[in-house]
Amino acid sequence: MLFNSAVFIYLFLPFVLLIYFFLNKLQLLASGKAWLVLASLFFYGYWNIDYIILIIISILCNYGLGKLLIKLNNGIKQYKLLSKPILIKGIIFNLAILFYYKYTDFIIANVNYLFKVEAPALDLLLPLAISFFTFQQIAYLVDCYKSDALEYNFLNYCLFVTFFPQLIAGPIVHHKEMMPQFNNRTNAYVNHANIAKGLFIFAIGLFKKVIIADSFAQWANTGFNSTTALQFWDAWGASLSYTFQLYYDFSGYADMAIGIALMFNIVLPINFNSPYKALTIQDFWHRWHMTLSRWLRDYLYIPLGGNRKGAIRTYINVMLTFILGGLWHGAAWTFIVWGALHGLALCTQRLWTQVGFKLPSIISWLLTFTFISVSWIFFRAEDIPSALHIISGMLGVNGYNTSSILIAPGNTLITSPYIVSYLIIFGFSAFFSRNSMELSLNKIRYTIWGSLMVSAVFFLAILFGIATVDSEFLYFNF
């Protein structure tokens, strides 16, 4: 079920909200939570019912392991010694599931290529959200081991993993920021201000997704799926379209998730902070998919040694973190290259800073944005030759004409008035305007115009939903 689908907006969400607050009003708080867990599992199973069992097993095992780790930590010294092997087994268990579903076919394909064999692929369907709930639960196990986690109520734990606003594509929430909110009794009752604010943020996200991202998607897909060599303008048109599609798609999803959670009085962490305004790559990663950056820093980069083991190890750790971060997004060499490019860029920036090299802000921003835009080509392309095919077009290798890709009779990819106006309007919005969090974290003034805007967005979502049958969020694939 997609956040932008009519069935979610007009049936699922209002129904779940109504029943949840009704149960809580009757002081059936546990039932309210159980209802939310059931609704979340239904939301998950709506996509493919077969994988509900997988997420349930994952929850049961991790909750059990977490409980055991806490008990061992609170026990006598000999018991404490047992906790590390249990943590390692827990992490291996989580990674094994992720590896099996996400990376087996990738390994088989590479083994086939290297050793000239023809082992058949397993063609496994990637369980939705597996990368997200695996990371959340690994963090929980590590914190249990480090005595940074409390022994939580089972229902709260289930809700922490399955809470449908953040289940499919993040933000990657931390138990410390969620559990207190689930325990807070005041959060169990209707709060009109939160619902109105949630509605407002959700509408902004919906607008980003259905009106901006899905339009950019058509142009990006035309360019990236082109079988003919892209020329200069078309290649830049496709690349920039994808750059903005990805931003508006993912940040639109994050806004919707934050808005929905707020309707349940739950505050999810901010995941985007105008990333295309970043002046450096480091700045970019402080603004883009912030909860993933946080996770990679806390549970990968720092455990690897961070910057505490000398300059060389720091560079190695940065590279490893980004390559694994790339691989987390998908089992393909394109993601590895994308991660490696960002790792290299961060290392370069670190080196420049150490030698005192500094660029003027505007040059720094332009360089950062251009690098990010070019690196997204690897993120989007089917394979590395396809990515190089676009980049060679951007460098003018295939010429400078604009007539190579038709997106509609009479319109070429870059000369289409729609794409140019979209790039200007929403490109500039991404660079210069206040983001949704800045807009909504300040005190919202509820006006008639605001309510009309919200209604208009919901209306347009219905109509645009008819035209775009295949409108999944990009991060659903990760």
Binding site: H192, I195, T447, S451, L452, S455, F458, I462, I466
Partner: protein, 514 residues
């Protein structure tokens, strides 16, 4: 505004926006024609009162594969084929049939294989024709129940089509003239014989192949949707309950398919899939309580039956297929209807056509600008007057009468009716010798007159609704072909070139005002 009021306002403004949008689509985009564009839709609507009729509906295989007249003899009741392009959604067809059937009717569904595997989404040619210039398929939309209409608007009808529909400048007069054109076409269909009148087109082939997928073998064409019954078909199957609840009996049968040269429709590599698929379909249909007549092999024809696609068979094969179907109906113990009422379909259709024509004429006369004092010259005639019956197409010099009786009408300005008389002048010339013409104006006989340049004094007391109806009767209208002058077969007599209108209190004409 408080947060609570913000939510309430947002909710209600959304409801208002949705309602306004639905009204815009319903009333300004997919407008309802006065007369359905297609003959089959018009006939379905016109025959809706008949109780105990049989309707055959499917894709075009039903048009070319079943002889409704022959089936009518079996059922002893009127049989009509209401079928068109198989790409058009079955749901819309079922709902339009539901609106025009009664208790005791029978619906026979020789659905094409495509119907069983149809996916979500609408064919472009269907969506585009709902609100094109001619509103060719508006009938499907405008026959939907209100809730279905809303569902269609908000889940299937693209915004781009709404916008392009709104851009079309619709002119009431042009639409009424289009209705008249269609009614004239329906008259020709009814006159062309029973087969066409009952919705079939049985022809001898082979014909020139247009849009035929020569790159696809028959079986790959028939089963391009795969061998899996789709959710869409299951929903349509459930929708048929609406008909059975009304007391309409429903029977399924298999589509006529035909080989082409060496392209066999059920090749060995697909035959196992087809058998399994057909069994699955049959079980599904029968589990819902509907009977499936015959087996799919019975309606499979060899290449010599090929008409112009894998679903269209020649006349002789259609008759053979109808005979097989009748045998299968007997074998399945499908009872005859024995509709004892004396139904003459041709008469019913003609009466409906005349009734609708009169309505359109009436509307057209109201819609055209009223005539004030002045002349209507040759080029303006068909733009200012309504030529109802017995006229040829407008030519530069004027317009010929055709046949022995010709009628035309117009409305006059109210300012003219304040006087005692309207002076009406007719100018023209005769073909094949001058003669006198009997003239009736608003049912008043004005005698037998030579009309080359003739004025009539019409009392305003004989004018109601500002309307003037003129009937001309000729005694010797012959075609140029009959007279050996040309190949023109029209029985022409009087060529009208000008009309003048004036008003007076004493019978003398006054100066023209315009």
């Amino acid at each position: 505004m408080s947060a609570k009021n913000f939510m309430i306002t947002s909710f209600f403004s959304l409801v208002v926006i949705l309602l306004v949008y639905a009204i815009v689509v319903d009333k300004m985009v997919i407008l309802e024609r006065n007369i359905p564009y297609s003959y089959k839709q018009f006939a379905l609507q016109s025959l809706s009162e008949i109780q105990g009729k049989v309707i055959i509906s499917a894709g075009s295989n039903a048009i070319h594969g079943i002889d409704s007249a022959k089936l009518s003899q079996y059922f002893n009741s009127p049989v009509f084929t209401y079928a068109d392009n198989a790409d058009y959604p079955l749901r819309a067809k079922i709902l339009s049939i539901e609106k025009h059937t009664n208790k005791g009717d029978v619906v026979l569904l020789p659905l094409e294989w495509l119907h069983y595997s149809a996916k979500q989404g609408l064919a472009e040619n269907y969506v585009d024709a709902l609100a094109d210039e001619e509103l060719r398929l508006e009938f499907y939309f405008n026959n939907l129940p209100a809730l279905e209409k809303l569902k269609f608007i908000f889940t299937q009808y693209p915004l781009s089509d709404v916008i392009s529909g709104l851009k079309i400048q619709r002119n009431k007069i042009a639409m009424l003239k289009s209705d008249l054109k269609q009614l004239n076409y329906f008259t020709r269909v009814v006159q062309s014989g029973e087969i066409q009148m009952l919705g079939n087109s049985l022809r001898n082939g082979p014909e020139q192949i247009v849009k035929f997928p020569t790159n696809k073998t028959c079986d790959s064409y028939l089963f391009s949707g795969g061998f899996k019954v789709s959710r869409v078909f299951k929903d349509n199957l459930s929708l048929l309950k609406k008909l059975t609840r009304k007391g309409v009996a429903i029977y399924f049968t298999w589509p006529a398919v035909v080989d082409y040269k060496k392209s066999n429709c059920y090749q060995q590599n697909t035959i196992n899939n087809v058998n399994k698929y057909a069994t699955e379909i049959k079980e599904l249909v029968e589990n819902k309580g509907y009977q499936f007549i015959g087996n799919y092999q019975q309606s499979h024809f060899p290449a010599h039956c090929f008409l112009n696609t894998y679903y269209h068979i020649k006349r002789e094969c259609a008759i053979l297929r109808t005979n097989k179907l009748i045998e299968a109906l007997k074998f399945s113990n499908i009872k005859k209807i024995h509709n004892t009422s004396d139904i003459n379909i041709a008469l019913m259709m003609n009466n409906e056509i005349i009734r609708n024509k009169n309505y359109i004429f009436y509307e057209l006369i109201k819609a055209l600008p009223e005539l004030k004092k002045g002349k209507i010259t040759a080029e303006q005639l068909s733009h200012r007057l309504v030529f109802k019956q017995g006229w040829a197409e407008q030519e530069k010099w004027g317009i010929w009468t055709v046949g022995n009786e010709s009628a035309f009408s117009f409305s006059v300005a109210k300012s003219l009716l304040t006087r005692k008389y309207i002076m009406l002048s007719i100018k023209g010339h005769y073909f094949n010798g001058v003669e006198k013409t009997k003239v009736k104006i608003n049912s008043v006989y004005y005698g037998e007159e030579e009309l080359a340049n003739k004025s009539f004094k019409v009392s305003v007391n004989s004018v109601s609704d500002n309307r003037i109806d003129i009937t001309l009767q000729h005694t010797s209208a012959f075609s140029p072909k009959y007279l050996g002058l040309s190949k023109d077969t029209r029985k022409i007599k009087f060529g009208l070139t000008e009309i003048s209108i004036n008003a007076t209190d004493d019978g003398t004409e006054e100066n023209n005002e315009n």
